[in-house]
Amino acid sequence: MYIQALSGDAGFLERLARANFSGTVHSIFERTINLKCSENGELYTIGNHQLDNAPNTLIINVKGFSELGLSVNAPVITKEDSSLVMGANIRIWTQQATKWEGELPSYPCDIEGVDILRRNVAFTKNYVDVYGKTGGMKMSSQPANPFEKEMSRMLIQRAGMLSDDLANKRIESATQHAISLIGLGPGLTPSGDDFLVGLCSVYKMQNISSCLSCPFFDEIVRSSQALTNEISAITLKKAAHGQVRESLNDLLSCMVSGSTEELVPVLDKIIGIGSSSGTDILLGILCGLERNLEAGGNVCLPKS
C-alpha cells in the first residue's frame, strides 16, 4: 500500500531524505503510530490527517491505523527515494510533504502587548474553568473513586508548589516539584507531564520575561526517562527544548497578539487533545504566563 505524506517535522524529513532512519513499530493507536528509531533511540510519530504537525512527526493521508494490518515490532526502514517502509507492504512517500518547523512566539516586550496577553490569560482561565475537562489537573466535582480524587489532589498540590517556587525564584525547589509531577496522572501522557509540557512551552518563548536556567529543563528531561513512559518522555523532552506541537505554537501566538474571538477555536482545539491532556497543557501554560506577568518587565535580558 502506498500512502502520501502530507507534511512533516523538518528534522524528520531531512533524516528520511538522508535515508538515515531504521527501527521498529513501537506502538499503534487509531490515529497515530509510534516508531522507535535505532539510530538515536528516539520515538517518531506517524499521524493521520486529523492531527496537527508536531516535533518528530509525519502527517500522512489516512484516516486511521488500526486497519492497516501493522503490528508492534514490525521493521521500519527508509528507501533511497526517501520513502518510509513499515512492515511488509506499507510505503509512505515523503517527497511531496510540506516541511514544518515549529517556532514559539516572542513574549511581548511592550506595555500594549503585555496588556493583550493579560486580557487573553484572564479569558483563557475562565474558558478552562467552564470548558476544561476534569479528571486530571482540573478536579471533577464528582470524582469516580478515591484514587481519582487523590490523584487530582496531588496534582493540584504539586503544581501549586511548583508555581509558588517559580513566583519566588526558588529554582532548586521548583525543579524538585516539577520532577514530582512527572508520571503523575491518568492517561497515556500523565497529567503532570502534560502540565509541564505547557509550562516549558511558555518558559521557552523568545524574550520570556522571567527565564529559567538550563539545569531546570535538563533535569526534567533526565528524570522523565525513568519516571514516565517513552511516549510521554519524548514529548516532554521536546518541550523542554522549546519544540511543541503546532496547535500549541498557534495558541501561544494567539495569546500574545490575538483577540478573544480568535482564541476560542484555538482553545477548543487544545481542549480536544486526548482525554484531559489538552486541559492539563493549558493549565501549565496559564501557570507559566501568570508567573511571567507577575514578574513584570523583562528580568532576563540585559537592559539596554
Binding site: 506502538s27 493507536f29 487509531e30 490515529r31 497515530t32 486529523q50 489516512v62 484516516k63 486511521g64 488500526s66 486497519e67 467552564v130 470548558y131 475537562k133 479528571g135 466535582s141 464528582q142 469516580a144 473513586n145 478515591p146 484514587f147 487523590e150 490523584m151 496531588m154 514530582s180 509531577l181 512527572i182 508520571g183 503523575l184 496522572g185 491518568p186 492517561g187 497515556l188 501522557t189 500523565p190 503532570g192 525513568a226 519516571l227 514516565t228 513512559n229 517513552e230 511516549i231 476560542v264 477548543d268 480536544g272 486526548g274 482525554s275 484531559s276 491532556s277
Partner: protein
C-alpha cells in the same frame, strides 16, 4: 474487602480509551473501586495513599498498564477483572470464540452461500473497495463507514442499482432487515409497514412510534445521509421504494429525510405518484403541497408519520391513543417558571430528534439557534455558548471530532447540561435518551447524578428548573424502557411520550402571556 491486580506489560492505550475503560470499570456491579493507569512511580504513590498499593504493583514499569480492582469479596474481584478484560477485548476489536472470522468478503461469501447481506464498518479509505467486493458477490450492502467520497458513493449505488441490490450508505447507521436491527436500531414488532430513511434517529423514532401505536415493521431501509443530494440523486431511496413496493408483506411505505434537493424531490415524488401502495412522506421541515399533488400522505412530524402509517396499514384511528399534549401539565410548568425563564436548551444525541424539536420551536419563535441550523443568521458561531433558544445536535461532527458519539460516551453532554442548568434565563432543558442496539447500556443512569445536582442547585437559588426527557425505545428494548423512564421521573424529570411531543411541550412550557 479484597483487592486484585493485573499488570499488562508494555501495553499502551490512548488516553481517551483509557479514561473510557476506567469509567466503565468503575460502573461494574460490585466494584468499590477500579483503577486503570500507567505504572509510573507517581501513580504508584497515589495508589499507596489510597491503600491500594501491592508488591505486584510496586514492580510495574512505566510502560506497563496497571489494573486494580477493589470489591467486597475475592469472587467479585475476579468477576470484575473478567468483565474488564472483556472491555479491553472490545476496545481491541477481539471477537468471541463463537464467531467465525473471515479474512475477506470473498471468503465469507464463498463459505456462507446463503448470505445475502454484508454490513461493512471499516476505515473510510477501504470502505468503497470492500462494498464493491460485496456487491460483486451479489450481497446487499449496509455501509456504516463514512469518509467515502461522493464519487465513490454514486459509483457504488449505480452498480448496486444495475445489479438489483441495495446499497445502504455510506454513513448509514440504522436499518432493520428481516426483523434484525443493524448497527443502531430498536427492537420493534414485525408488521406491514416499510420505511426508507435517510435520517438515522428519525427512522428509529418513526419505527418506535409505529410499534407504540400497535403497528409493526417489515423492513427499515437506510440510505445514508447524502442520498437525496443533487449529486447522488436519491438512487437508494428510489430503489428502496421499489423494493418495498415489490415486497408482498409491505402494505404501507414511509419515507423519512431532511428536505431533498428540489430535483431529487421531484424524482422521489414521481415514484410516489406511480407507486401502487400508500406512501407517507415525512421530509423534516418540508412543504405539504408537492407531496399531496403526488398523491402522497404528508406528515409534518414523526408522530404524524407513524399515525398515518398505522391507520393506512389497517388500524382504527378512533381506537388509537394518540398521546395528546397534556395542557394541564403545560399550565402547571408555566406557573412554576419565572418571567425571565423563557428559553429552551435542547441537548440531543439524535440529530433528527434535534431537528424536529428545533423546527417545532421555529414555528413559534424567531430566535432559535443551533449548530445544525439551516438559517445562517441563527447558526451558532460558537457552539460552546448558547443563545436564546438553543438546540444542539451533540452527535454532530462539531462535537464528536476525535471523541466518541454521545450515545456511547455522554461526558460532553453532561458537562454542557450542568452549564445550561446554571443559566437563569433557561426555562426548560430538553434531552433525548436513546435505547436499543448500539447505544449506551444505561443512558439515563449516566445522566442522573448531573440531573439531581442541577435540580438541587436551582432549588437552592429559588428557581424551578424544568427538565424534559424523551426516552426513545420500546418495551422490547434493552435496557428496560420502563426502568429508564422511572429513573428519570424519580429524579423529577418530566417525560415526553414522543419526539414530537417533546418538541411541542418544550416550546409551550416557556411560552409567556398565553
Amino acid at each position: 474487602m479484597s483487592t486484585k491486580v493485573v499488570i499488562k506489560q508494555s501495553t499502551y492505550f490512548d488516553s481517551v480509551s483509557l479514561m473510557s475503560l476506567s469509567t466503565k470499570a468503575n460502573q461494574i456491579e460490585g466494584v468499590e473501586q477500579a483503577v486503570i493507569a500507567m505504572g509510573t512511580d507517581m501513580n504508584k504513590e497515589v495508589l499507596k495513599n489510597v491503600g491500594l498499593l501491592t508488591p505486584e504493583l510496586e514492580a510495574a514499569k512505566t510502560s506497563d498498564l496497571m489494573i486494580v480492582v477493589k470489591a467486597a469479596t475475592d469472587e467479585l474481584c475476579e468477576s470484575a477483572l473478567i468483565a474488564i478484560e472483556e472491555l479491553f477485548k472490545k476496545k481491541g476489536g477481539s471477537k468471541s470464540a463463537t464467531e467465525i472470522k473471515y479474512s475477506t468478503i470473498d471468503s465469507a461469501a464463498a463459505s456462507i452461500p446463503e448470505a445475502n447481506l454484508a454490513v461493512i464498518s471499516v476505515n473510510g479509505a477501504f470502505a468503497a473497495r470492500e462494498a464493491r467486493k460485496a456487491l460483486e458477490n451479489d450481497l446487499h450492502v449496509m455501509l456504516f463507514s463514512d469518509n467515502v467520497s461522493i464519487e465513490e458513493e454514486i459509483a457504488l449505488k449505480q452498480f448496486a442499482h444495475e445489479k438489483g441490490l441495495l446499497m445502504m450508505g455510506p454513513d448509514c447507521g440504522t436499518a432493520i432487515i428481516g426483523n434484525v436491527a443493524l448497527c443502531f436500531g430498536n427492537a420493534v414488532r414485525k408488521g406491514n409497514i416499510g420505511i426508507v430513511g435517510a435520517s438515522g434517529t428519525g427512522s428509529q423514532e418513526v419505527s418506535v412510534r409505529i410499534h407504540d401505536f400497535g403497528g409493526g415493521i417489515t423492513q427499515l431501509i437506510g440510505t445514508g445521509g447524502r442520498d437525496l443530494s443533487e449529486q447522488v440523486g436519491g438512487i437508494m431511496m428510489l430503489d428502496g421504494i421499489k423494493a418495498l413496493e415489490e415486497d408482498e408483506a409491505t402494505k404501507v411505505i414511509v419515507l423519512i429525510s431532511k428536505p431533498p434537493a428540489p430535483s431529487v424531490q421531484e424524482k422521489v415524488l414521481a415514484q410516489v405518484k406511480s407507486c401502487k401502495k400508500p406512501v407517507v412522506v415525512y421530509f423534516i421541515g418540508g412543504e405539504e403541497t408537492a407531496v399531496l399533488e403526488a398523491g402522497g400522505h404528508f406528515a409534518k412530524t414523526s408522530k404524524e408519520a407513524a399515525i398515518k402509517a398505522v391507520v393506512l396499514a389497517g388500524a382504527n384511528e378512533d381506537e388509537l391513543n394518540k398521546r395528546a399534549l397534556n395542557w394541564p401539565l403545560i399550565e402547571e410548568v408555566r406557573a412554576k417558571l419565572s418571567p425571565e425563564q423563557k428559553y429552551i436548551r435542547g441537548l440531543f444525541c439524535g440529530g433528527t430528534l434535534c431537528d424536529e424539536a428545533m423546527y417545532l420551536a421555529m414555528d413559534k419563535y424567531e430566535d432559535v439557534y443551533s449548530n445544525i441550523q439551516k438559517k445562517a443568521d441563527y447558526k451558532l458561531k460558537n457552539i460552546h455558548e448558547s443563545k436564546a433558544h438553543t438546540f444542539l445536535d451533540m452527535g454532530d461532527d462539531d462535537f464528536t471530532n476525535g471523541k466518541p458519539h454521545p450515545m456511547i460516551d455522554p461526558s460532553t453532554r453532561i458537562a454542557r447540561f450542568l452549564e445550561e442548568a446554571k443559566d437563569p434565563s433557561v426555562g426548560v432543558i430538553l434531552m433525548d435518551f436513546i435505547l436499543g442496539f448500539g447505544s449506551h447500556e444505561d443512558p439515563v443512569g449516566v445522566m442522573l447524578p448531573a440531573i439531581i445536582e442541577a435540580k438541587a442547585q436551582a432549588a437552592k437559588e429559588g428557581r424551578h428548573l424544568e427538565i424534559l426527557g424523551y426516552v426513545l425505545g420500546t418495551d422490547l428494548d434493552t435496557p428496560n424502557f420502563d426502568e429508564q423512564v422511572k429513573k428519570l421521573m424519580d429524579a423529577g424529570v418530566t417525560i415526553a411520550s414522543s419526539s414530537t411531543n417533546a418538541g411541542l411541550l418544550a416550546r409551550e412550557f416557556v411560552a409567556k402571556g398565553e
